[in-house]
């Protein structure tokens, strides 16, 4: 388990969530993608038992816990136990049957896998079970892969369990370039991310037309508030463009347009300037 996860204790996270909640924000606690240790499970059990906030499940283990597993609930009650949750982007919901399955377990919102195209998202969104909201990953470095390795610690030649928190020196990760200098990926702890930020800012009017319920902005150490403001403006129909300094490595939106995720395609039929309605 990454020791940095213990920097903020459970009570700290819940305290932050309460602060945000009392400021009028809806808080969702996103659970880990890679649950591997008993400590990971224990932490999640406590957050679920606390019950104050919606949990986003990104692993079947979280689903199992949400279903009241671990012999804490008598078997005959299991079918009745439906704690509402968000089905995260790493639950691998690629089709209508799986979407219906998670909705049946109590999902109130789902996030498609990042690699899913607009066409497929639109198709699943249109046919979604009643009461289920759809959220799309719309800005930020894409979490492309997860490993038991800490690539940051490995880069500096340290053990994962004795890492001196070296990742704190690189809040947005360490850039990984090809041998001809193409800025390609970013290693950040156990995650491998895209170097280019994914952005659907120019597609916001289309996303609004699709009646997608929410878009997700992945935080970064700089410009975060400007990015949020830009998406809020785009949602309200204003014409906005992504500033180059928000992503010096450039932008990508290929997944949304059905091509390689690294590509940057021009939005079809919806020029940025047309957003004004």
């Amino acid at each position: 388990m990454c020791a940095r996860r213990r920097e903020l204790r459970r009570e700290d996270w819940l305290g932050l969530a309460r602060d945000l909640s009392s400021a009028g924000k809806q808080v969702v606690l996103s659970a880990q993608v890679l649950l591997e240790s008993e400590a990971d499970l224990r932490q999640l059990r406590h957050l679920i038992d606390d019950g104050s906030f919606l949990i986003e499940a990104n692993d079947l283990g979280a689903i199992g816990l949400l279903r009241g597993a671990s012999a804490r609930v008598p078997a005959e009650l299991m079918a009745l136990q439906r704690i509402p949750f968000v089905a995260g982007p790493h639950l691998n919901i690629y089709n209508e049957a799986t979407l219906a399955f998670f909705a049946g377990l109590g999902a109130v919102r789902w996030v498609p896998p990042l690699e899913m195209s607009r066409e497929r998202v639109a198709q699943l969104h249109a046919g979604r079970p009643a009461g289920l909201a759809t959220e799309v990953f719309a800005f930020g470095r894409m979490p492309l892969a997860f490993s038991a390795r800490c690539f940051t610690a490995r880069h500096v030649g340290l053990n994962r369990d004795d890492c001196e928190y070296r990742c704190m020196e690189h809040p947005d990760g360490l850039e990984l370039s090809t041998r001809e200098g193409q800025e390609f990926l970013v290693i950040n702890g156990i995650q491998t991310q895209s170097a280019r930020r994914h952005t659907l800012l120019a597609e916001m009017s289309d996303i609004a037309d699709l009646n997608i319920d929410a878009v997700r902005i992945s935080p970064q150490s700089h410009h975060c508030l400007e990015i949020i403001a830009a998406f809020a403006a785009a949602r309200d129909g204003q014409s906005v463009t992504a500033a180059p300094e928000w992503s010096p490595e450039g932008y990508a939106n290929g997944y949304w347009h059905g091509t390689a995720g690294i590509n940057l395609e021009s939005p079809k039929g919806h020029d940025v300037k047309d957003i004004q309605r």
């Binding site: 799986t98 370039s177 090809t178 491998t192």
Partner: protein
């Protein structure tokens, strides 16, 4: 003293000849898939149709072996029927089990074919017992294939708490990512294991002979460049050399193969039900050799029990078949480590073993994962120092089998190994 049970040997079959090779060389089960996007090894020229699968089943059943069919990609929206048909055909032909990852498909299979055995695919990304037990309760899943990200201690903990059998990878190409949750391939090419059943698909690979060296590209992205004398490998995205903060190295994963041979007694002891060989894309000859070697080791373990001794010939055979001719114990042997980083450290050869474990994560013997205690394990002349990936690792007397592992040295990208390692290479990933 003989032991009661050893893990089943599950071997890959990319086609009928490989299936026969696996069965004839002692596999308890073979796993295979259909010739379409329903299986996660959807490579051109590979896999089965109804006719070849039926023939494979006849051959396997005659030898008392089982056939497992992997229908382990994620059906794409609006195309679920193709996956349902694959499940129905496999069930109709009487396969032993289906290997499935998608929740919707597990629900379909358990409802439509309630007596058919279900295994949770490695693509299902189950790394904890809550995930496994959920699939057991919901769908009656009877076996789980673990992603290659857990330590041996974590596997043991899982076996204790899981309500399904546990299958682990034993040999073959090493994936260090949590399988089923890796989009690196589609980021570069638009196609991923989850969507089309292939990682870094061959149709996107291009080789260019340039003055700087032989370049391997994936959809135009330079994955690696090989100098004269360097052995080029398939440009699987995560196994290329990249630059991070001025250092060029295998930043994600080295082109090594997993080999758990030295851990077989431990895997049997903790109750792992089956060990799996990766490689449905490999040749029948490869499958035959790996199967024969692991069968011999498992049979010896059954007979010898606690007296089981690793034969150097087995390790040598497997190392020759390994990717880059290097093998590793992978995450199983990771006492908090990360896998070594190829590169800068220049350390010593035989005779200068340090009392302190190096910081690479080699807490102990790389063979049996016993903590490194000079007095107890690696004392004296039998201790073998392995210089790999810029850091020193050790094999205890037991695993070194009389010091027959060759010591080798490797110094970053400028000096690739001239001598292929015969023994265990590199720290755990």
């Amino acid at each position: 003293m003989p032991i009661a049970t050893v893990p089943d040997l599950v071997c890959p079959a990319g086609g009928l000849p490989a299936l026969k090779a696996a069965v004839d060389n002692g596999a308890n089960s073979v796993y295979c898939g259909f010739r379409d996007a329903t299986n996660a090894r959807n490579f051109a020229g590979l896999n089965f149709d109804r006719k070849t699968l039926a023939e494979g089943l006849r051959h396997a059943h005659a030898a008392g072996a089982n056939v497992l069919v992997a229908i382990n990609t994620y059906p794409q929206a609006g195309r679920i029927d193709e996956w349902h048909r694959a499940i129905d055909v496999a069930a109709e032909l009487g396969v032993h089990a289906l290997i499935v990852a998608d929740m919707g498909l597990l629900a379909y299979a358990s409802r439509r074919h309630p007596s058919l055995r279900l295994h949770l695919s490695v693509q299902g990304s189950a790394t904890n017992y809550e995930a496994i037990n959920f699939c057991h309760r919901e769908f009656g899943v009877q076996r789980t294939v673990l992603p290659r990200v857990l330590t041996l201690a974590q596997v043991e903990h899982l076996v204790k708490h899981a309500e399904t059998e546990i299958e682990v990878f034993a040999f073959g190409s090493l994936c260090v990512m949590n399988e089923g949750r890796c989009w690196l391939s589609s980021y570069a090419t638009g196609e991923s294991p989850n969507t089309v059943g292939a990682c870094s698909p061959a149709k996107y690979v291009r080789w260019d002979n340039k003055p700087a060296g032989l370049e391997a590209r994936l959809n135009g992205i330079l994955i690696d460049r090989y100098g004269a004398g360097e052995k080029a490998g398939y440009p699987t995205l995560c196994k290329g050399r990249f630059e991070v903060s001025g250092a060029t190295y295998y930043a994600l994963e080295e082109p090594t193969s997993l080999n758990v041979l030295p851990m077989l007694p431990e895997l049997a002891r903790i109750g792992v039900a089956a060990i799996k060989v990766e490689g449905r894309q490999r040749s029948p000859a490869y499958v035959a050799k790996v199967t024969r070697t692991l069968r011999a080791a498992l049979d010896a373990l059954r007979v010898e029990g606690e007296d089981f001794a690793l034969r150097p010939a087995w390790q040598a055979d497997l190392s020759r078949l390994a990717e880059g001719q290097q093998v590793t114990l992978g995450a199983y042997n990771r006492p908090g480590g990360n896998g070594g980083r190829l590169g800068n450290a220049e350390r010593t050869g035989i005779g200068s073993a340090r009392a302190e474990p190096c910081r690479c994560g080699h807490g102990g013997c790389q063979g049996c994962s016993e903590p490194w205690r000079p007095a107890r394990h690696c004392a004296g002349a039998a201790a073998v120092l392995l210089v790999a990936h810029g850091c020193a690792g050790f094999l205890c007397r037991h695993c070194a089998v009389g010091g027959r592992y060759r010591v080798y040295r490797r110094n970053g990208v400028r000096a690739p190994p001239r001598t292929a390692p015969r023994g265990l290479a590199g720290p755990g990933s």
